[in-house]
Amino acid sequence: MSHDKITFNLDGEALEVVAGTTLLDACRSKGAQVPTLCHEDRLEPFGGCRMCLVELDGAPRPVPACKTNVASGMVVRSGSDSLERVRGTIAEMFMAEHRPATGGRPNAMDKVAKRFNLGAPPIQFPERAQYHDRNRFIGFDTDACILCNRCVRYCDEVMQVTALEHSGQGPNAIVQPTDGLSFLDTSCELCGGCISSCPTGALYEKQSQGVEESSCDTTRTVCTFCGVGCVIDLNTKDGKVVKVTAEQGVGPNDGHLCTKGRFAWQFIHHDDRLSEPLVRGEDGELHAATWEEAYARVAEGLTKVKQEHGADSIGFLASSRCTNEDVYVLQKLARSVIGTNNVHSCAAT
């Protein structure tokens, strides 16, 4: 990879960047406010929304900053009146088809509308057909979609399963799962990455429908569904987990999640969760007990076996699902209190 520096002129100032830098990144590094909708840092540049147009000397018309690499000697203007007018008009075009999703999901169009001070659009196109799908994870509010293709590109470039498509053309153009099938019947792996890449909330977590994202608390922690250690944010409301999200640029996962990490959190509040200690009675059945009763029974049972058969007749099995602190004290219990090295976990990989 080349790390050669090249110089170009941005808004009247000379700027030095590494060769291969896009105009968008260069503009951002200098603090220039170039709006974007179809751009996402994890995806390859697309250049479809046209919000990031900048003026480039010698080019017949403005160029998309996301899709244009800086070349030595370029002269670029990132925020002329004419550019702002064109960007504002394109934003106005979006508003002619975009109907904000209900349910309190963040919507990049709000920010755009504010920046360009948009009122009612001069024309309103008819609603799209809604997308009904029996899968329980991914919902799609078609009228909020602005065809930025971020979901499609995420599926193509990151997941590489190509389960979403930008289909049709003109007024009939839509984004949909392959051939308009259910998400369950395509090559979709239900990772929900499309949701994380959607700027308007058109794609959403069905399980979290109606939960105002801004009203949630988030707690940063680590997913437990494999050894990768994805950093996740548990979104909670009224003491319950209601959604799992991940922030780009954070952790080994860089904002990506799999289907289990994003969606399989119901077990946390499942009715089957153990909520009371259980002690096996004379009848051979397990019965609810107090913690004191349970602790006493554990101490009694272990002490008895240790006295009768020695410390090495007791075995401990630690869980690879628990925290370091949990399993550290378990082996400490085995070694320093019981006095045995009989402690193992599900066999080492």
């Binding site: 147009l53 018309r61 008009t89 196109f125 190509t162």
Partner: protein, 390 residues
């Protein structure tokens, strides 16, 4: 250099780019592994244009020979005709011509293979089973390396207007959704499968063949005009650049049907917009048409007799553009749709300030020619038929 003999000839596909510059650009490119590529754009989709189909029926050999000359001059080893899928008759003539040229030693044996380009709805990634790029086809050695003549195959088009846009055409050939690419890089630098690619229109190759074979002395002096609409003898006519529409209609087309009065006319395909009868004496040349706000385009002249209203014609064109937008970029996708609704009366026109801004956003913000030339249709209406578009 032979390429210089083409000076004066401009591309006949609509944009009118000087042919010798394009050929020279490809000739100047280094030959990569996989070789350079020639593509003949035979996806004639511009409303009012029929000359390419006519040529492929009448003189396919000359078109192919034009491609063969181009290949020799720019150093290409393989060539493709991207054919409008409705041109089934032309396909047969093309195949016959290809077989003849194989026999005559101009094309390599095996030429004439055929596959389907992608169209809509389309996938953003290549469909499984689609042909691989030649770099990845080890069994087909580049023709130049084997000393064989040009390998020339046929790709059936994806059946959409945008497939005629050169970079959308390349995407279609590669098996993806036909969405235009961002330029630069231009196809001459990085075209089909990233190889340097010379793409010209059917008519352009035909003229190039006639020029390079010495038949024609003054390149660019004539065009093939497609004449259609309310004329007695619609057809394709070779006539000088600079002929007036009135002469074309009267001398070649036999006048207007039933000697009706002309309501309006189109000079160079739908994208060149609608002109009033008062402009019929304008020379059909780049310079002459510039005077009246438009261009020669594909030289597809369409005549509308009264009582057809100019606004009906314009509305039809805008609906066509709105429907045919590939929907990749916002200004083209939504701008055309809005103007189609406004001009046809589905929605009321907004304030002129809004109209102007939306036209500007389409002109400056679109990715390809469909988006940034469509406003011309509206602007021409504003200029010549202002009462109809307020």
């Amino acid at each position: 250099m032979d390429i210089q003999r083409l000076e004066g000839l401009r591309g006949c596909g609509g944009a009118g780019f000087p042919v010798h510059i394009k050929w020279q650009a490809v000739a100047n490119e280094a030959t990569p592994e996989g070789g350079k590529v020639i593509v003949c754009n035979a996806d004639e989709g511009e409303p009012g244009t029929l000359k390419d189909g006519w040529l492929l029926n009448e003189q396919p050999r000359r078109v192919l020979l034009g491609m063969q000359r181009a290949a020799a001059m720019v150093g290409a080893v393989r060539a493709y005709v991207y054919l409008r899928p409705e041109y089934t008759e032309q396909l047969r003539f093309l195949q016959v011509a290809i077989n003849d040229l194989i026999e005559d030693g101009f094309l390599s044996p095996g030429s004439g293979a055929m596959w389907n380009g992608a169209g809509f709805p389309g996938r953003s990634v290549q469909r499984p089973g689609h042909p691989l790029p030649p770099q990845e086809m080890p069994n087909i050695a580049p023709a130049a390396a084997t000393g064989l003549p040009l390998r020339l195959d046929i790709v059936l088009g994806g059946g959409a207007y945008i497939c005629g846009e050169e970079t959308a055409l390349l995407e279609s050939m590669e098996g993806r959704r036909p969405q235009p690419r961002h330029k630069p890089p231009y196809p001459t630098q990085s075209g089909l499968w990233g190889l340097p690619t010379l793409m010209n229109n059917v008519e352009t190759f035909w003229w190039a063949e006639r020029i390079l074979s010495g038949e024609i002395e003054t390149p660019g002096s004539h065009r093939l005009y497609s004449l259609s609409g309310d004329v007695e003898r619609p057809g394709v006519y070779e006539a000088p650049v600079g002929i007036t529409a009135r002469d074309l209609i009267d001398h070649f087309g036999g006048g207007v049907v039933n000697r009706e009065q002309i309501s309006c006319w189109i000079p160079g395909g739908a994208a060149s917009g609608v002109l009033p009868a008062s402009c019929l004496d304008t020379p059909l040349s780049p310079e002459g048409l510039k005077e009246v706000g438009t261009s020669l385009g594909t030289a597809g002249v369409v005549v509308y007799a009264k009582p057809t209203q100019p606004v009906e014609v314009a509305a039809e064109i805008m609906k066509f553009f709105a429907d045919e937008s590939c929907s990749q970029c916002t200004p083209c996708r939504l701008g055309n749709r809005a103007f189609s609704d406004w001009i046809s009366g589905v929605h009321e026109w907004p304030e002129p300030e809004v109209t102007e801004r939306w036209l500007e956003a389409m002109e400056l913000g679109s990715i390809c020619g469909l988006g940034f030339t469509a406003p011309l249709v509206v602007r021409q209406m504003q200029r010549w038929f202002s009462e109809a578009v307020v």
